[in-house]
């Protein structure tokens, strides 16, 4: 069952040990009504690495991301065929509870969506819904999450203020803190920096690289430089929901196998 990722040579300088596969898609198809949004995807996502999903809009990269934590379940017309394994367990098996799954796989959205609650309560939210009741424990974990999200210094003395009072970049880091507070294994990010200004973007990018030390990060981005800067692995989706190429980021950007991928990366279309 373990395949692909371990076979490729890792150019990653952060870790030399062989990659462990956390998520593996096998012949995964997603339909919206009659439209096929993803075509027979096979992909193995390595642990504690940043995997970037790139491609032109409408190529299915966000659909793929949302199928990992079964957010597509919330769309009535969406239908999934094929398998997606999380540690070898198909998340679309009948006995899998999407709620339990999402407690293992956090998510950050394109538009920052802090709840209209205090900064503290935003971060503590995941802990509370997942059943943590010990106040001391919650305090510690909120602080750790905010520190890991590189937001602690900015909000330390105003945890009671509404999360909506923060700037856009801060709000997004708050959402990242919210996602990591319950300590998931995987963090999914759907164009997390696209709504932010350049300064905030670079902060979030730095943060993503740090997060990869503890978490498996899967990030959708339309920004190829961003993918090249922060990811270890890159998957290129092209129109029609096809995964055209998947491999080490350096390889993809320097020497792609497919002409279509090269055209896309060099900006000939897309």
């Amino acid at each position: 069952m373990i395949q692909t990722a371990t076979e490729t040579e890792s150019c990653d300088n952060r870790s030399t040990r062989p990659d462990e596969t956390v998520l593996r898609a096998s012949d995964l198809n997603v339909y919206y009504g009659d439209d096929r949004a993803l075509r027979s995807i096979d992909m193995a996502i390595p642990e504690r690495k940043v995997t970037a999903l790139i491609g032109p809009s409408g190529c299915g990269k966000s659909t793929f991301l949302r199928s990992i934590n079964r957010m597509n379940d919330l769309i009535d017309v969406a239908r999934v065929e094929g398998e997606l394994y999380f540690h070898g367990k198909n998340v679309y098996d009948d006995d899998v509870d999407p709620v339990a799954l999402r407690r293992k796989i956090g998510m950050v959205f394109q538009k920052p969506n802090p709840f209209p609650k205090s900064i503290f309560d935003n971060v503590a939210y995941g802990l509370e819904v997942q059943g943590t009741t010990d106040d001391v424990d919650i305090d510690e974990r909120v602080e750790r999450a905010l520190k890991n999200a590189a937001l602690w210094n900015e909000v330390e003395d105003r945890l009671d203020e509404s999360g909506l009072e923060l700037s856009g970049g801060q709000q997004q880091r708050l959402c990242i803190a919210r996602a990591i507070a319950p300590d998931p294994e995987v963090i999914l990010m759907d164009e997390p920096a696209s709504a932010l200004d350049p300064v905030a973007t670079s902060k979030v990018e730095d943060l993503i690289e740090e997060l990869a030390e503890e978490y498996t990060v899967v990030i959708v981005t339309h920004n190829m430089q961003q993918a090249a800067r922060i990811s270890n692995k890159t998957a290129v989706f092209l129109t029609g929901g096809e995964l055209v190429e998947f491999g080490d980021t350096n390889e993809i950007f320097e020497n792609p196998d497919h002409d279509r991928v090269e055209d896309y990366i060099t900006g000939k279309f897309g």
Binding site: D76, P116, G126
Partner: protein, 299 residues
């Protein structure tokens, strides 16, 4: 030559008539829209005038009016028992209608699958909103007052009013829930929350100002409803303030009893009662507007 062309183009008699027609039409429309406002002013002035006459010429003592119960003799009659009855009615109606109305709206907006049953419930709501209030009174009269044998008690009146405003509360709550951005729901689901956790901890707190506003406005409508109470209860003048299980005469029914009497003294008591009733409604509306303005900027 040129003047003739000018005439044809810009000054023809036809165009004059067009202009006049337009002015006339605007005048009619403008007058019509003022009509409602003028009537409103006259209505309020009439009530105030009649109440004023009552105080000046019939020596109605406002203190006594607000603290005494109903009496057969207009000289001693007061509104206190009716006010207490209405306050009780509102409290009980609010609890019942809020629970059922908000609960239904959450189900329809957040949980309900798009099935035939759901569509039936939705279509039925529109129908219920058009049922005359007097029919709700008949329903409670037969089903509660006589069916369960409660008798004509205040609680039965509250049930009638609650049934009457549940559709209104459902519709306004649905609107408030729809105004909560889906991003918040997704954020919560992605954190591993169940649907109920999402609703209780994220959606409802964000929607509660809108829900409360809608509920208060619905209650402001209920407090003036007379017909269902007359169907449920007995028309009489209550001496003592009632509890939930006593027979009762609320503000609007007391006003009706007074207004239907031939003696002028009662007539002015009715006017004063209307002033109190309108003051209650005004306060409730003001609270609703305040809530709406206070929380509007959030989200």
């Amino acid at each position: 030559m040129s003047t003739k062309i000018d005439d044809e183009l810009f000054g023809s008699a036809d165009l004059q008539w067009e202009k006049l027609k337009n002015k006339l039409f605007l005048g009619i429309c403008f007058t019509a829209s003022l009509f409602g406002v003028v009537v409103l002013v006259f209505l309020l002035a009439d009530v105030a005038y009649e109440a004023g006459i009552g105080i000046v010429e019939f020596d109605i003592n406002i203190g006594q009016f607000l603290t005494e119960g109903g009496r057969r003799d207009p000289e001693d009659a007061g509104f206190y028992a009716a006010i207490v009855a209405s306050v009780w009615l509102m409290a009980l109606t609010a609890v019942m209608a809020f629970v059922v109305g908000v609960g239904s709206a959450i189900y329809l907006e957040e949980y309900a699958p798009d099935t035939r049953i759901t569509r039936l419930i939705e279509a039925n709501l529109a129908n219920l909103a058009g049922v005359p209030s007097v029919v709700y009174g008949l329903l409670v009269l037969a089903a509660v007052v006589n069916g369960f044998g409660t008798g004509s008690i205040l609680l039965a009146g509250a049930i009638a009013l609650a049934l009457l405003i549940v559709p209104i509360i459902i519709v306004s709550t649905q609107e408030a829930l729809r105004a909560v951005p889906d991003g918040l729901r997704n954020g919560s689901y992605a954190t591993g929350a169940t649907q109920w956790q999402t609703i209780r901890q994220v959606v409802l707190p964000a929607a509660i100002p809108g829900i409360l506003t809608g509920t208060i406005l619905a209650l402001a409508r209920a407090i003036g409803e007379t017909a269902p109470l007359i169907m449920v209860g007995i028309l009489f003048t209550a001496r003592r303030p009632p509890g939930p299980l006593d027979s009762f005469s609320a503000m609007p029914s007391q006003i009706y009893v007074w207004a239907a009497q031939p003696q002028p003294h009662f007539h002015h008591l009715a006017a004063l009662g209307i002033v109190v009733l309108l003051a209650f409604m005004l306060t409730m509306n003001a609270v609703a507007v305040f809530l709406r303005n206070r929380y509007e900027r959030e989200l």
